[in-house]
C-alpha cells in the first residue's frame, strides 16, 4: 500500500476520531494553543521592541561617527577612561581640514540647563553648542526658520534653534516662535529656527533640546570643554576606512606615543544597538524559554491523550491489522491524528497570540509587530510538536500483536 493511500486514509480516520471525541480534542487543542499563543506573543513583543529601537537609531544619522573622549556606554573597566586628554577646537579643525573620507565635520558641546519664555519655564533641557555642519551630521531637519550659520558662530550671535518639544512647551496654541526672545540659562537669545521631530532614543527625548552657535555656548559656560567631533562619512561602505583614518589622524595630531592605547573613542550608533542586544538578549532567551516549556507541556498532553486513544482503540487496531494494515499504516494514522490536533491548536494559539500582541501594543507603549512568517512558524511548530509527541504512542499502537489486540474487550 502506498504512502499516499496511508496519508489519505489516515487523515480521514484521524478527522473521524477527533470529531467523535470533541471535548477531549478541544482540551488537547487548548493545551497546545496556550503554548503557541505564549510563544507568539513573546515573539511579537520582541520583534516590536527591535523594530522600534531600529527606528530610534535611524534618528542618530546614518554614516555618522562621533569622536569623543569617552565611550557612550561603559561596561566594566570604567577606570581605563580616566585621565584622557580633552578633544579641542584645534583637533576639530585638524579633522575638518585633513579627513578625506569625511563629507561633513561638526563640533559640539552640550550640557543640561534651564530655558524660559514669559511665564513658561523648562528645566533639564539639552543645551548644545554646535557648528553649522551638525545639521547634516546629526540628521536634523528644520521645519521653520533656519539652522545655525557660520556667521552666527563667527559673531557669537545670540540666536537659537529649538527642538520640537521645546517649541511645543514654550509656544503652545500655534504661537509664533520665530523672532521670539527666550532665555537660555538666564541670558536672552532670539529663536531663528525650529527643528523637526526626531523621536525618542532609549526612552529619552531628542527633541527637548536647544541648539546654540558653538562659541556662544562656550561663552555662556566658560570652561575647558572636551568636544564631540561629529563626522558624516561620504558613503556607508567607507565607514570602517574612515574610522581608521580618524584614528591615525587624531593620534598624529594629538601626538599619542606609538604603542599607547587611543586616548579617545569613536562612538557609533551600532554600539548602542549591540549593547541593546546584549541587554535584551538574555531577557528574550528566558521569555522564549518559557514559551517552549509551555509547548512542551502541551506536547505531553498530546502524548497522554494519544496513549489513551491507542488503549481505547486496541481492538480497532487489531481489526485493521487483520484486514491488511501494515505497521506503517497504523503509525501514519495515529501520528496524523496527533499532528492534526496540534496544528489546529497552533492555529487557534496563533490567533490568540496575535490578539495578545496587539493588545499589548494598544495598552502599553511597546509596539508589538508580528512578521507574516511568524504565523506559519506558529502553526508549523505546533504541528511539529504533535508529530514528535505522537510518534511514541503511534509506535505502541503499531507494535501491538494483532491476535492480542483482537481479543481486547
Amino acid at each position: 500500500m502506498s504512502l499516499r493511500v496511508d496519508l489519505v486514509e489516515g487523515s480521514r480516520i484521524a478527522l473521524k476520531s477527533l470529531a467523535s471525541h470533541r471535548l477531549r480534542t478541544a482540551l488537547t487543542t487548548v493545551g497546545i494553543g496556550i503554548g503557541v499563543a505564549t510563544l507568539l506573543a513573546i515573539l511579537g513583543i520582541t520583534q516590536g521592541l527591535d523594530s522600534s529601537f531600529e527606528k530610534q537609531l535611524a534618528g542618530l544619522g546614518s554614516n555618522s561617527l562621533y569622536v569623543q573622549k569617552d565611550p557612550w556606554i561603559v561596561m566594566g573597566d570604567w577606570w581605563r577612561y580616566r585621565g584622557r586628554r580633552n578633544l579641542t577646537w584645534a583637533h576639530y579643525q585638524a579633522v575638518r581640514a585633513q579627513c578625506v573620507r569625511c563629507e561633513a565635520v561638526s563640533a559640539s558641546i552640550s550640557q543640561r540647563g534651564d530655558v524660559d519664555f514669559l511665564d513658561r519655564a523648562l528645566s533639564l533641557v539639552e543645551l548644545q553648542g554646535v557648528t553649522p555642519e551638525e545639521l547634516s551630521v546629526g540628521a536634523w531637519t528644520v521645519t521653520a526658520g533656519r539652522f545655525i550659520t557660520d556667521a552666527d558662530d563667527l559673531n557669537r550671535t545670540k540666536v537659537v534653534v529649538i527642538g520640537a518639544d521645546v517649541a511645543d512647551a514654550l509656544f503652545p496654541d500655534g504661537a509664533q516662535p520665530l523672532g521670539a526672545s527666550i532665555r537660555v540659562a538666564g541670558r536672552p537669545f532670539t529663536v531663528v529656527g525650529v527643528l523637526g521631530r526626531k523621536g525618542r532614543l532609549l526612552d529619552q527625548s531628542q527633541d527637548l533640546t536647544v541648539l546654540l552657535p558653538f562659541h556662544a555656548m562656550s561663552a555662556l559656560f566658560p570652561r575647558r570643554w572636551s568636544l564631540a567631533i561629529g563626522v558624516q562619512v561620504k558613503s556607508s561602505d567607507e565607514v570602517a576606512a574612515a574610522e581608521d583614518e580618524l584614528v591615525g589622524l587624531l593620534r598624529r595630531v594629538r601626538q599619542t606615543p606609538p604603542g599607547a592605547d587611543d586616548d579617545f573613542t569613536i562612538n557609533k550608533p551600532e554600539m548602542l544597538s549591540s549593547t541593546y542586544q546584549q541587554l535584551t538578549g538574555a531577557l528574550y532567551g528566558v521569555a522564549v524559554g518559557i514559551g517552549f516549556i509551555t509547548l512542551l507541556v502541551g506536547g505531553i498532553g498530546i502524548m497522554n491523550i494519544m496513549l489513551v486513544s491507542v488503549r481505547e482503540r486496541t481492538r480497532e487496531i487489531g481489526i485493521r491489522r487483520a484486514l491488511g494494515a501494515t505497521k506503517r499504516t497504523i503509525i501514519t494514522q495515529f501520528v496524523l491524528e496527533a499532528t492534526l490536533v496540534s496544528a489546529v491548536g497552533g492555529a487557534i494559539g496563533t490567533l490568540v497570540g496575535l490578539g495578545g500582541a496587539r493588545l499589548v501594543s494598544l495598552v502599553t507603549p511597546l509596539a508589538a509587530t508580528v512578521r507574516p512568517g511568524t504565523v506559519f512558524f506558529g502553526i508549523g511548530f505546533a504541528a511539529l510538536v504533535g508529530l514528535v509527541f505522537g510518534i511514541w504512542p503511534a509506535a505502541r499502537a503499531a507494535n501491538l500483536d494483532p491476535v492480542e489486540a483482537l481479543r481486547d474487550e
Binding site: 493511500v5 487489531g318 485493521r320 499504516t329 483482537l406
Partner: protein, 236 residues
Amino acid sequence: MLIELKDIRREYTVGGEVVRALDGVSIGIAKGEWVAIIGQSGSGKSTLMNVIGCLDTPTSGSYRLNGKDVARMDDDELAGIRNREIGFIFQNFQLLPRETSLANVELPLVYRGVSARERRARAIDALKKVRLENRMTHKPTELSGGQRQRVAIARALAGEPSLLLADEPTGNLDSATGEEIVRLFEELHQAGHTLVLVTHEPRLAARCPRAIRLSDGQVVGDGPGAEVAWQGVARP
C-alpha cells in the same frame, strides 16, 4: 493444495514454562473444500486458526498458502497476504463500530489501494451476496447479530480472497440466526469458495464435508464431517 501445513509447531513461554499449543500439525486443504477444525478449548484450534490466517507465525514447520511460503515472511508481507488471500469471519464480528456497513466492507480494499469508486462497487456487490444491500448506511449498533455477521462475511468476500477463515461464526448467535449463517456458508461453498471453519460445536462441524479434530495440539482425526465431528463425543 491451497493450504499445506507440514509439521507445524507453535510454542509459547508462559511464566517460564513452555506450552506447546501446536505439536507437529500437518494438514493439506485443497481449493474449494469446506473444512471444519474442531476441538475442545485448549486443543490448539485457535492457535492453528491464527497460523493459517497469518496472524501468527509458527515456531517451526513449513506453511505454504496458495503456493507461497508464508512461515518465514516478515510483518509487512504477512499483512499483504492477510489482505489479499484471507477473508476473516470472527465470533464477535469485529466490525468498526463508528463506520457504516459499506465502509466496513470496503476496509480490506482500502488497504489494497483500490480506487474509491471501484471499492464502493465491489463492497455493494459483496453486501448483495449476503442480502444486506438495504442496510448499507447502517452502523453496526443499528444491526441485529445475524446482520452484523453477514456484514462481516461481506467484508471477507469483498476482497475475493482465496480462503474464507471463520472462527466460531455462530458462537454469538441464537440457533435460528446461526442456521441462517450456516446456510450462507453452504451457498458460498457451492459457489466454489474455500472455507475453513474453527469451532468446538460437533453439530456445526457435522455439516461440513470434511472435519479435522485437534487435541493437545495434534491432529487426532481427519475425515467426513459427520464422522469426525462426533468422535469421542456422546451424541445427544
